[in-house]
Symmetry: C2
Subunit: 109 residues, 2 copies
């Protein structure tokens, strides 16, 4: 069964993580996984074409944000939050807090 | 005297901020300004061509990270850290902490 490659935590790069999270769709995937994980791709896909979703998940995996495990025909995705917290303490929480603030602000405007 | 345009704090967008900081050179400018500000462009330029530096400063200004004030023939740059902190509390500090950690880790390896 094909499995995906994931960088080890010591190879995580800050600029790659920031680039991965600078796209609104990829940021929304990380937000959804921070609330409920693991999740298969389908509920995270929205109305996007599969090729676009594959690309975005690849960027998230290469940055070290997401781990994808193939279980039968399902790809289960989870955040690597413990490893991210160990490598860059407080970073993911600060970005998720800021993302939640954007939703709050747009909901109030 | 030509002055630059800067977005108001309420228009700051998280994904634009993350994109601006996902480039190592732009991140290094923000790190340098976090230690000493305001600073003219020259000490922040390194050996890069002026056109490249202008582009990177433009990205930083549009994201709301940097304010550039023209004083005579000098462009003085400063971080908009108070406004960033008010809009996204803890975000810039967490990213700067993570960036400092990268330097520490590479110095120790």
């Amino acid at each position: 069964m094909k499995q995906y490659e994931h960088p080890p935590a010591e190879a995580f790069e800050l600029t790659c993580i920031l680039h991965a999270l600078s796209d609104p769709y990829r940021l929304s995937i990380v937000q959804k996984l921070s609330v409920l994980q693991p999740q298969p791709c389908a509920p995270l896909q929205g109305d996007r074409p599969k090729s676009s979703v594959s690309h975005h998940f690849s960027v998230l995996r290469k940055a070290g944000l997401v781990r994808t495990v193939v279980v039968g025909v399902t790809h289960m995705n989870s955040l690597r939050n413990a490893e991210l917290e160990a490598r860059f303490p407080g970073l993911l929480d600060a970005i998720l807090d800021a993302a939640a603030r954007c939703v709050e602000l747009s909901a109030n405007s």
